[in-house]
Subunit: 349 residues, 2 copies
């Protein structure tokens, strides 16, 4: 697919490793006052003054985390940054820098990497983070992207996973399940294309869920919004593996149980209609889908009035004593124990 | 090879991603006072007070950076950490934390990853760094390791590549060329083994160079030694790609030229004898070999007396005006321009 799109192909080996890095990062300027030294030395140097340093890292592997037959490289670059800064926002911190390392096989021409870095550039602009380092090397097969996100926060701003208390409210930003259903559409269209390469899919009715999958947005807006509202979550994490997996992490690390209410889980109408089309239960998708990069957090009941009615937030349940377990309360009032069915990168199915 | 060594095989998928991380990192304890939060949240949190934060990252790919047919996994884990903290020391900083992400295909049993993490554990002890995060996922093929090293330094301690001045002395720690010649031995023995699996190689005469390749040590001792001697280098980097490549970086970023003296380049006798055995020119190997992870730095001439006679240091040349170029002065007194022949991960040969 890459070959078709790029009539002009420049071999990576023509540039050499340092030439390649210099070429790909030529347009990137550092803007954060905390960046003292960016690309070009043995290491990047940051000055966070009295603030704490926050670091998270992720590895994205072609054929495991993405399929280049339907993921445009520019979107992939953007997403690679989104999923990493999302972890920084999940600490209630500000993302300030990233490093990006890539390994590519020589089937990738320079023009393909330029597309990837165009997406990374867009994401750096969007999230206001500086690209300060990385590594570029070859792979024996496929594309590998490793991103480390760096951020800053005052110590009393940081929110961990282990602070949820009994009676706290469970809050979710945005809506979930879209990224997973977007993936189902892409997989279906890929299968159709393989049978009939001349088919012209009409994807207009799936634009929202396709964007959720291909170009997810990390919730940069939420930490400052919470600050403006005077709310400090008691626990927080981002929804990358799936709501069920994430709430189990918060409950187990906080030593509590919870009740999530099925009828409170925020779903976009496109998620509901696409679930119907695929004969999938939308609650199952919302619980297990993953990759939505919304933030899941808990707040003291006393803070409820501060978030009530805010369109960014849905209260989807509350924290209970540990012995009550982690449960979904269905529309029929039935209690169903939640077990992790989130995305498991190591399972074979 | 891995299969032969591990009679008991546990499938990674039996543990799941979070179970696997928990299992592999169970013995790791955080010890650095700067580590506020290690593994187990969306991100790690560090407190560097008034010091600056230093970050470097590297990607190691099976079949490109290492060959598991002769690299023991424990050594590989150790080396993956060494090569990353080396970048922190090259900034004249202290390494304090690392994150390690791995991607593995399901041909790796749990026991293989335990070996890898045993090496990472040893390195964390040796370099006094805390393992504070990472990511574990599957790959479609082979083993991929991504390490991010984090360190700290006062701003006035930091040494960049761009500070070398005319008449500065060029200093190298330890000796070089060993890692490359160790690799030649390993490649030769692999070829012999493929022809005759029953051959029993006698590697006693190559122990030093094999260790330089398989278990390189980053020069944690050098920044505190320089401090104790009252020497602050004007420029510094670590020798990962090869001496010629590194001196070209320092000269080009500092806007200077230099003269390196062939007869001053420190070589271990094992490097010299193995070069003779392979009919290779030892100066070429020293210039182009790479992977020795020694430190190359420049100091003001006024500091010469402070390092003179110290067994860790060899003065190998001096900085000249830019127009003089970057030259090797041979034993015969001939000037040869130095061009980068270091390891290029993107070239095809």
């Amino acid at each position: 697919m890459i070959e078709d799109k790029t009539p002009h192909r420049t071999q990576l080996s023509d540039l050499g490793e340092f030439g390649l890095i210099a070429h790909l990062t030529a347009d990137f300027k550092t803007k954060q006052p905390s960046t003292l030294k960016g690309i070009g030395d043995d290491a990047a140097v940051m000055n966070f003054d009295d603030k704490k340093t926050v670091v998270s890292t992720d590895l994205l592997i072609e054929g495991v985390h993405f399929d280049l037959s339907y993921v445009p490289l520019k979107h992939l670059g953007y997403k690679a940054v989104s999923v990493n800064v999302s972890d920084i926002y999940a600490m209630n911190a500000r993302a300030t820098q990233i490093t990006v390392s890539i390994a590519v096989s020589n089937r990738f021409p320079l023009e393909a990497l330029e597309e990837l870095y165009a997406g990374i550039y867009l994401a750096c602009e969007r999230y206001e983070v500086d690209l300060v380092g990385g590594d570029t090397t070859s792979s024996t097969r496929g594309l590998i992207i490793s991103v480390t996100a760096i951020g800053e926060a005052q110590e009393d701003e940081l929110v961990y996973r282990n602070g949820a208390k009994e009676n706290d409210l469970i809050v979710l930003t945005g809506d979930i399940g879209g990224a997973y259903m977007g993936l189902q559409i892409l997989e279906r269209e890929k299968a159709v294309f393989q049978v009939n390469p001349h088919s012209q899919p009409d994807l207009d009715m799936y634009t929202y869920i396709l964007e959720r999958q291909l170009k997810p947005e990390a919730r940069k807006d939420i930490p400052p919004l919470l600050k403006a509202l005077g709310v400090k979550p008691t626990a927080m994490m981002d929804v990358s593996d799936g709501l069920s997996s994430e709430i189990l992490h918060i409950c187990s690390q906080s030593g509590v149980g919870c009740r999530l209410y099925e009828d409170k889980i925020p779903l976009d109408p496109q998620v509901i209609s696409t679930c119907e089309e695929f004969n999938l239960d939308s609650t199952t998708i919302a619980l297990s889908g993953g990759e939505d990069y919304e933030l899941l957090f808990t707040i003291a009941q006393a803070d409820y009035d501060k978030i009530k009615g805010n369109p960014h937030f849905s209260v989807i349940g509350h924290i209970t004593p540990k012995d009550d377990g982690v449960n979904l309360v269905t529309r029929a009032g039935q209690f169903i124990p939640i077990i992790a069915r989130g995305w498991n990168a190591l399972s074979k199915d």
